[in-house]
């Protein structure tokens, strides 16, 4: 009976992972099959041309800008907020409220963030349609992800580390910085990777706040078009699936690069602390 149950559960585990991997292979495979033909040096590094045949370099640059700016703002805020919630706050009303707020933020459709950003950052704060307005909007979108994953990571750090450090007459800040954060790093990193995914994958919130100008951005206050917005427009208006998929390939490569360097960084950090 018990053995049977074990077999069934084990079977389900295998089935699930096979399903997940199959889906992964199918999606990535589909994108590569559809888009590979378009990939060329000119396509990646060329300037955009509205009459066709141009490249996507401006969108690549814009995408990287939005990732960097959003993360530079959201990561510290998110981590510090999580630190407050886990390490400082008395587990009372305020914490519950903050937690509820962050959870609710995750479920709001991005188009609403986009409209909010368009009214608040673009119009009210007079940033205009710009990379900075989009990045701030994206910051609000990924904050909950970073806060929650960091909180979880902090929860898994043994209490004995905190005690051990504080008993040596260190401050909470020193303890956090030297002991707690390093051992929570893997969890935090996976939150950041998820956030990058969210930033990169976003379209509605970006085209309403950064617009769709297909030129190399001059400054953070220029409007610009990200890769995803490009593939969105292309799908939506011309139905050029090949082009959208080719953009997807470039995105996958970019994300792969980021994820690999993130893992390398975390390995390095671990070496610094563990070895």
């Amino acid at each position: 009976m018990r053995q049977l149950k074990d077999y069934v559960l084990r079977g389900l585990l295998w089935l699930s992972v096979l399903l997940s991997v199959a889906v992964l292979v199918m999606i990535v495979g589909y994108i590569f099959v559809k888009g590979m033909n378009l990939i060329s040096f000119e396509f990646i590094f060329g300037d955009y041309s509205p009459t066709g045949g141009g490249g996507i370099w401006p969108m690549i640059v814009t995408t990287i800008y939005t990732i960097i700016i959003s993360l530079v703002i959201a990561t510290p805020i998110g981590i510090l907020a999580a630190l407050y919630l886990q390490e400082y706050a008395k587990q009372g009303r305020l914490v519950k409220l903050i937690r509820f707020a962050t959870e609710s933020l995750t479920g709001i459709p991005s188009i609403i963030y986009g409209l909010f950003g368009a009214v608040f950052f673009v119009t009210t704060l007079k940033m205009g349609m710009s990379i900075i307005a989009a990045s701030l909007t994206l910051t609000i979108i990924v904050l909950p992800v970073i806060i929650r994953t960091t909180e979880e990571a902090l929860k898994t750090v043994p209490q004995s580390y905190r005690e051990g450090s504080l008993a040596l007459g260190t401050t909470k800040l020193q303890t956090l910085y030297k002991v707690i954060l390093p051992s929570a790093m893997p969890g935090i990193l996976s939150g950041i990777i998820l956030s990058i995914g969210r930033i990169v994958g976003e379209s509605a919130a970006i085209f309403l706040t950064a617009g769709t100008v297909a030129a190399l951005p001059e400054s953070l206050f220029s409007s610009a078009r990200t890769l995803t917005v490009h593939s969105y427009l292309v799908t939506q208006e011309s139905g050029d699936i090949e082009l959208a998929a080719a953009v997807g390939i470039v995105l996958i490569v970019i994300i792969l690069g980021i994820n690999i360097s993130a893992t390398l960084i975390s390995k390095k950090l671990n070496k610094a602390t563990n070895k």
């Binding site: 300037d47 041309s49 509205p50 009459t51 401006p58 368009a118 673009v122 119009t123 205009g128 349609m129 085209f207 309403l208 617009g211 769709t212 100008v213 297909a214 030129a215 190399l216 001059e218 409007s223 427009l233 292309v234 799908t235 939506q236 208006e237 011309s238 139905g239 050029d240 699936i241």
Partner: protein, 253 residues
């Protein structure tokens, strides 16, 4: 190319935003225009309403719209210029036998009176209607000319946003019928003649083909800069209209 000249020009940037169907045409016009005049033109394709709103509250100088202005929008002092016309064509899956319909038959299809292709001389299979979303300029124009209201649209119809999505949907389903702009016609879908008339720019200009609607530029009265005015003049010039025609739109004259 826009990135290099942008920093060097006399500082006049023309900010344009709005309809995603007007956008590609406007981009092409802007690219040609900036070859002769080193103006910096920013085009944001974010939807007609967002563009109109931007024109009203000054985020953009010019708004692009593929629909007519609402009363309250006109009341807030917007001016409109028709920069071109856009032909609308009924499309089906390439394997569909039906190649010609009357305007009345089109109406019957979209209002659900006819639900099987065999009633129209095709194979025995269910009709799947694909329409644009409520508020779309193409849809407004289409419904007005075919003569049915949004309320009459068959309820089970698929609603797709944008020409591209209609095209992809129809190209992937042999039951489907939808409508798109002329400029997006390609071999993945088959076009339907209306009352025996082919969907071509000439036929629209000679008023033999009825399905078309205007592309608009709108701007706040008195807020149009010289640069903006020059760009509009360029579009309406012979050169500009030729470019529009090459891009698949129908010239104003």
């Amino acid at each position: 190319d826009s990135s290099t000249q942008a920093s060097g020009n006399n500082g006049s940037t023309i900010a344009i935003s709005g309809s995603t169907s007007v956008g590609p045409l406007a981009e092409k016009l802007a690219a040609k225009y900036s070859e002769q005049d080193n103006a910096n033109i920013e085009i944001n394709q974010i939807g007609s309403s967002a563009g109109i709103t931007n024109a009203i509250n000054g985020v953009s100088e010019i708004g692009m719209s593929s629909r007519d202005l609402k009363e309250e929008e006109q009341a807030s002092g917007l001016q409109e210029v028709v920069i071109a016309y856009d032909g609308i064509v009924v499309v089906t899956h390439p394997t569909n036998q039906v190649k010609n319909l009357t305007l009345e038959q089109v109406k019957q299809i979209f209002t659900g009176e006819v639900t099987n292709w065999k009633e129209l001389g095709g194979d025995d299979m269910e009709i799947v209607v694909v329409s644009r979303e409520d508020g779309s300029g193409s849809r407004d124009a289409f419904q007005e000319i075919v003569d049915y209201s949004s309320g009459e649209l068959v309820k089970s119809s698929i609603i797709a946003s944008g020409n591209g999505n209609i095209k992809t949907t129809v190209a992937n389903n042999k039951h489907a019928v939808g409508f798109i702009s002329f400029e997006y016609i390609d071999e993945t879908i088959s076009t339907i003649d209306i009352n025996g008339v082919k969907a071509t720019a000439e036929n629209v200009l000679e008023q033999n083909y009825k399905l078309s609607r205007p592309f608009l530029f709108v701007y706040k009265e008195g807020k149009l800069t010289d640069a903006g005015q020059n760009f509009i003049d360029f579009i309406l010039s012979e050169d500009g209209q030729r470019i529009a025609a090459e891009a698949g739109a129908i010239p104003v004259k």
